[in-house]
């Protein structure tokens, strides 16, 4: 497997080329990128010429395992003002920014002659649209995922080409699902057809990577020293921050305060998770330091990290697996002690349906948190959500049938005004999911002729 955070090898030089000294606060071993602020914008900008500065587009893909309970996912109404079924109900505060897309298919997630192993296929196909080779050995093969297609074309503009995040550590070798390598179940991001990118599951490491000025690799000694002294990254950049404050307009001063407050809040929550007992009732593996025992808090921290990374333009592309494919995690915190995978084989059992839909709703509630955070974060004239495309879904439709048509998929954000969000769109049966990816790549500024099993662009994202 390759690196967890796809940084460029010569990150120093690229950073120097693309990030001005004026929008980074520095301290010993710390480099705190700043969000976009009017006062820091180039003197001759589109804004000063009477236009709105073109803000960069961001793209994130969130994967959930085991499909969903579709009757409680799919809105009955089409178009604007669609109803929010039980699972989607947490999206009410951001409904106008969410486009539910029904009918997409991942044909390459089907067995197509390879027999069992639907869970592994569902993850590996999710962003690649490619049939994985059935093997438990090193000869794995899938395809380049949509995030990495974008990262290759535009990733040079930011310090990290992309972020790959997850919750469960997973395994990269050995067999996990009926003859499929674990690499297929634990990665959705593939930089080449044989290279799944391992994901980072520890929020502390992600935080340090985002705010360290070291190029990449393992934890640097400055981070360890900060941790030992219980010091905040803000302590190290405070002098620089004070100097900057005096040069900013009042709006930007408030914006900077809010941003630094947000960074500190995330840091505090990570510190709290360090102090937590290393026990979780939901999983059967030990939880390392820096990872909250509370699943929801863990997800939300990772979401906050994506927001910070997008806000400061450290990266514009992220993937996030809320759990690995086929995950049998239990959800005791919402009174569901049974494993998710076990429940997903519901055999039509109403009681199991009820529990699955609560798990599905819990995941969507975390998505809602992420979207609300993006919406509350200013970006140019709008919000981060306005300038983002957040694709959320599963590679399976129903966890019992293991079918790959009519996938649960939604696209949040407005793609910089290129998406008329807030609708429920139904597409023709068997329309490849990769057609959506092509349309997203167009809007991201990374158009390609095809990817995976695409047959064209997905029409109808704009009115």
């Amino acid at each position: 497997m390759s690196t967890a955070m796809s940084s460029k090898k010569q990150s120093g030089s690229i950073l120097d080329r693309t990030v001005s000294r004026r929008n980074v606060l520095r301290g010993v071993g710390v480099s705190l990128a700043l969000p976009w602020m009017e006062s820091l914008a180039p003197r001759v900008s589109a804004a000063s010429l009477g236009g709105t500065p073109a803000m960069p587009q961001r793209m994130a893909f969130l994967f959930v395992p085991n499909g969903v309970h579709l009757p409680d996912w799919t809105p009955q109404l089409d178009g604007f003002g669609y109803d929010l079924p039980h699972i989607l109900s947490p999206l009410a505060p951001v409904q106008d920014d969410v486009t539910v897309i029904s009918g997409l298919t991942h044909d390459k997630g089907r067995a197509n002659g390879d027999g069992p192993g639907d869970h592994a296929r569902s993850a590996s196909v999710f962003l690649t649209g490619s049939q994985p080779r059935k093997t438990e050995g090193a000869d794995i093969r899938s395809g380049v995922s949509v995030d990495q297609v974008a990262a290759k074309l535009t990733g040079r503009a930011t310090r990290f080409a992309s972020l790959e995040l997850g919750i469960e550590p997973g395994r990269s070798a050995g067999g996990c699902d009926s003859g499929y390598s674990c690499a297929y179940s634990s990665s959705v991001s593939w930089s080449s057809e044989a290279t799944p990118l391992s994901k980072e599951v520890n929020p502390r490491f992600v935080f340090e990577r985002l705010f360290s000025d070291k190029p990449s690799g393992t934890r640097d000694k400055d981070a360890l020293r900060r941790e030992a002294l219980r010091k905040s990254v803000l302590d190290y950049i405070s002098d620089d921050a004070k100097r900057l404050q005096s040069t900013l307009g009042s709006n930007d001063r408030q914006k900077l305060d809010e941003y630094l407050g947000g960074v500190r809040e995330v840091e505090r929550r990570i510190e709290r998770s360090n102090d937590e007992p290393r026990i979780s009732m939901d999983v059967d593996y030990p939880i390392p330091q820096g990872i909250p025992g509370n699943y929801g808090e863990h997800i939300r921290l990772m979401c906050d990290m994506m927001v910070l990374a997008f806000q400061t333009d450290r990266t514009r592309i992220a993937t996030f697996m809320l759990a690995d494919a086929g995950s049998n995690r239990s959800y005791r915190h919402i009174d569901i002690p049974e494993g998710h995978h076990e429940l997903s084989h519901h055999r039509g059992d109403a009681a199991k349906h009820a529990k699955i839909r609560e798990i599905n709703r819990f995941h969507v509630a975390q998505l809602s948190y992420f979207l609300q955070r993006l919406k509350a974060t200013p970006d140019g004239d709008g919000s981060l959500l306005d300038n983002s495309m957040i694709c959320y879904g599963s590679g399976l439709s129903d966890g019992d049938r293991h079918n790959n048509e009519n996938l649960p998929v939604l696209l949040a954000g407005r793609g910089g005004g290129t998406i008329d969000a807030g609708r429920h769109i139904r597409v023709s049966t068997e329309t490849p999911m990769c057609n959506l990816f092509l349309s997203m790549l167009d809007r991201f500024g990374s158009p390609v002729d095809y990817m995976g099993d695409s047959t064209g662009r997905l029409a109808g994202l704009e009115i």
């Binding site: 109404l77 089409d78 178009g79 604007f80 003002g81 505060p93 106008d96 298919t105 044909d107 390459k108 089907r110 197509n112 002659g113 390879d114 027999g115 049939q131 080779r133 093969r141 519901h346 055999r347 039509g348 059992d349 109403a350 609300q372 509350a376 129903d398 019992d400 049938r401 008329d420 807030g422 023709s428 049966t429 068997e430 095809y450 099993d453 047959t455 064209g456 009115i463």
Partner: protein, 788 residues
């Protein structure tokens, strides 16, 4: 292998041009040079030739790798075209799919693959038909003659797939439009609709054909054509007039599509707004949605519709009022001119309050002041105004914090409610809300206390202030503080003590809120058991209700409260009978006596009570067996939920399967799928004892609604007897893959009694290409022959 077969006997359209001739010439030259070499067979093969060879391997893995390799090459795979065409007959889906992708990426030069692809247009697999049509489109114009011939095929699926392929060929739209227009007269409705869809995809050159399709007898064709015209943009006056006529079409889909199409046309703005307003008042949701979409398309001009929308808000039609509010909400701050109209409507029509409040919240920061001022109007609902203010979000936080000190008391109360109603409540308002806890106005203290209860965490000093408020002189304030403190920190020992003490409070609202607060502790509320059990005889029925509800959530740890719950079963208030019986079912140790006490309510007229009685009896298992006859009566009840609960009750209480299975099989014929699901699941739970139900369950596999439950039950029963043999034999050649699978599997389970299935199983074994099916057939045959 020297692949030089590129010159087709089929005439090529001139558009293919010189490039292909040059390419063909080069390949011929290569072939000649290879042919003249002294030892051509020993010449090293090119990578493409090697892949082409591999594509004919008998090893599946080799063929797959070759197909994947060729699919990545783009036009370079041309040298392997012959092999790729042969692979379109490969039985492996992956080899087929990757070969098809490779051919698509070769593009126009893959013309020799057309016949094989057209053959695939009739495949049983929908994805294969879709993919073959797409590859034909990628090959381009040279496929058109064969596609046109295919429209004479007797297979409707093949005809539809050919039309699908033509619909992608927008570069040849003018040539194809007449063919597609003719297909609108096809005898098959799917083919007709596909023709309309394909015409829509062709765009402007198909405008006339789409215009004619607006007069089609088939409403689906009319709707698709109208929608297609929305992508064309400018249409003739006659088409536009026809679209206007279709606004009165009896079919909602057609009206909806007409609105969408007209909103894309160059219809004069004033007329379009009239149409939009009419659409927003339509009886069908989709048409109203189309009206909103059309309004959004107007962009900045949408404000011209505000007066008309305001009139709708003031009208008598509830539906139109709701849609107008929704339309204004979709306009966001651009609808601020409608603020007063919305506030008037909020007062006049509280029934649509939620929709109107949402529209007000979408107006953004500009609506904060008018909303706060409206709190002074005693006829306005403070809750709705607060909901609108909370919905505005972050931009309302500062003005709302300021409003906590407003001169007007209702504005202060509204501000507190709004801050608490935000999701999540703003941390920056916590101190200000805590400060309100010490203010003299009861309403403000109550609102602030309730608002603080919505915070996930509070500072310790805030919690301390809230706890002190539990001794407030005003009951409503104490109640709010009690409940909030429980929500925020119920696990705190001090808080628990306060809650338990409050169960004895003088004010019933405080007693109720204290019990509701303790209920958040679930099974951990044992220390409160005595107090809550005592509350079952409280003079206030709401307090009794809260107490019964709380005990339900405590499980067996509350079993000692059963004697105090029993009197509730005789209460004249149905809510209390219902809560009482539910609590007994949840906490009591099952005994025949308790089952008898509960069963006396089997004749209750209240459906909620009945439902809870059935659930309670179900929990008591065989102790409630004596009631089967009464419960069977309820499987015919008008209420679906009661029928389902009765079915589950029979399954759990009647331990004699010879009695319960026939009753459950009968329930598989219920008119409601949820009852059938409950019956199927119950049969599955009985395992092999329910094998008499296999035939009935097997037939339910044909129903989308029942498929999951039926297959789940069949898997759990995992057995079958002779009574199912004939049904299973019929299923062996079903179109439904799942049925075929279960038929083979279950016939094997029947064993020698299924001997009538042997001839057909043997034939299917001889015919199949699938290794998995071969294995299944073999196993079943051996089981029936007694060899397994």
């Amino acid at each position: 292998m020297n692949t030089i077969v590129v010159l087709s006997t089929r005439p090529r359209p001139c558009v293919l041009g010189c490039q292909r001739l040059v390419l063909a010439g080069m390949l011929v030259l290569v072939a000649i040079s290879v042919g003249h070499s002294e030892d051509a067979t020993d010449a090293p093969k090119s990578p493409v030739e090697k892949l082409a060879d591999d594509l004919t391997s008998t090893e599946l893995g080799t063929r797959r790798d070759a197909a994947y390799g060729l699919a990545k090459l783009g036009h370079e795979a041309f040298g392997a075209l012959d092999a790729l065409i042969k692979s379109l007959s490969d039985r492996d889906e992956q080899v087929w799919m990757q070969s098809a992708m490779a051919i698509a990426r070769i593009g126009a030069d893959a013309e020799p693959a057309i016949d094989a692809l057209v053959e695939n247009l009739g495949d049983r697999d929908q994805q294969k038909r879709y993919r073959a049509a797409w590859v034909l489109f990628r090959i381009g114009p040279s496929a058109i003659p064969r596609l046109q011939e295919t429209l004479a095929s007797p297979s409707s699926e093949r005809r539809a797939a050919a039309l699908d392929a033509m619909g992608w060929m927008s570069d040849n739209a003018s040539d194809l439009a007449p063919t597609l227009a003719s297909a609108l007269s096809d005898e098959n409705d799917n083919v007709r609709q596909q023709a309309a869809k394909s015409l829509s995809r062709l765009g402007t050159p198909a405008t006339d054909a789409l215009g004619q399709a607006l007069n089609h007898d088939d409403s689906a064709v009319r709707a698709i054509a109208a929608e297609g015209l929305s992508h064309v943009g400018k249409v003739s006056e006659s088409i536009r007039d026809r679209l206007v006529e279709l606004l009165s079409d009896p079919n909602g889909d057609v009206r909806c599509a007409a609105v969408v199409a007209l909103s894309s046309s160059d219809l004069e703005r004033e007329r379009l707004i009239e149409i939009i307003i009419a659409a927003i008042s339509d009886i069908e949701t989709d048409v109203r949605g189309a009206g909103v979409l059309a309004l959004r398309k107007l962009g900045k001009d949408s404000d011209q519709a505000i007066p008309s929308l305001a009139r709708l808000l003031d009208g008598d039609d509830i539906r139109a009022r709701q849609s107008a509010a929704f339309a204004l909400a979709s306009m966001g701050p651009a609808a601020s001119a409608a603020t007063d109209d919305l506030l008037r409507a909020l007062k006049k029509h509280p029934g649509e309050g939620q929709e109107i409040a949402h529209a007000l919240s979408r107006l953004g920061a500009a609506a904060v002041t008018p909303l706060l001022r409206a709190t002074d109007d005693p006829e306005q609902s403070l809750a709705l105004l607060s909901s609108a203010l909370a919905g505005i979000g972050p931009s309302a936080i500062l003005p709302l914090i300021e409003a906590l000190n407003d001169d007007s008391i209702p504005a202060r109360v509204g501000a507190a409610q709004s801050l608490g109603g935000m999701i999540p409540p703003p941390p920056s308002a916590e101190d200000n809300l805590v400060a309100c806890l010490n203010r003299s106005e009861n309403q403000l203290r109550e609102a602030a206390a309730s608002a603080l209860g919505n915070y996930k965490t509070l500072k310790p000093e805030s919690i301390a202030t809230l706890i002190s408020l539990t001794e407030d002189s005003d009951g409503a304030v104490r109640g709010a503080a009690i409940y909030s403190v429980a929500k925020v920190d119920a696990s705190n020992v001090r808080v628990r003590e306060v809650l338990i003490a409050a169960v004895q409070d003088n004010a019933s609202i405080v007693r109720r809120r204290a019990i509701d607060g303790l209920a958040t502790l679930g099974t951990e509320a044992v220390s409160a058991l005595a107090a809550v059990t005592g509350a079952l005889s409280d003079a206030d029925s709401d307090v009794r209700l809260s107490a019964a509800a709380m005990l339900s959530g405590m499980g067996e740890s509350a079993k000692s409260s059963v004697p105090q719950l029993l009197p509730l079963l005789d209460d004249s208030d149905a809510r209390l009978r219902s809560a009482g019986v539910a609590a007994i079912g949840a906490i009591a140790i099952p005994t025949t006596e308790t089952a008898q006490a509960v069963s006396k309510l089997l004749g209750d007229e209240n459906p909620t009570v009945l439902l809870n009685v059935l659930v309670s009896l179900t929990n008591m298992g065989s102790h409630a067996a004596e009631n089967t006859a009464s419960v069977v009566q309820l499987t015919k009840h008008a209420d679906v939920a009661i029928r389902g609960a009765a079915v589950k009750c029979i399954a759990k209480t009647e331990s004699d399967a010879t009695k319960s299975v026939p009753l459950l099989i009968e329930a598989l014929s219920d008119s409601d799928w949820t009852v059938r699901r409950d019956a199927a699941q119950s049969l599955g739970d009985l395992g092999g004892a329910a094998k008499a139900s296999v035939a009935k369950l097997f037939n339910l596999l044909d129903s989308d609604e029942d498929e999951d439950a039926a297959s789940g039950a069949l898997r759990s029963i995992d057995d079958a007897d002779a009574s199912a043999v004939q049904t299973l034999i019929e299923g062996l050649e079903s179109e439904n893959r799942r049925k075929r699978y279960y038929a083979v599997f279950l016939l094997g389970k029947v064993g020698p009694d299924a001997k009538d299935a042997l001839p057909i199983l043997q034939r299917l074994l001889d015919e199949t290409d699938s290794g998995r099916y071969r294995e299944s057939y073999q196993k079943a045959i051996e089981a029936i022959q007694g060899k397994a």
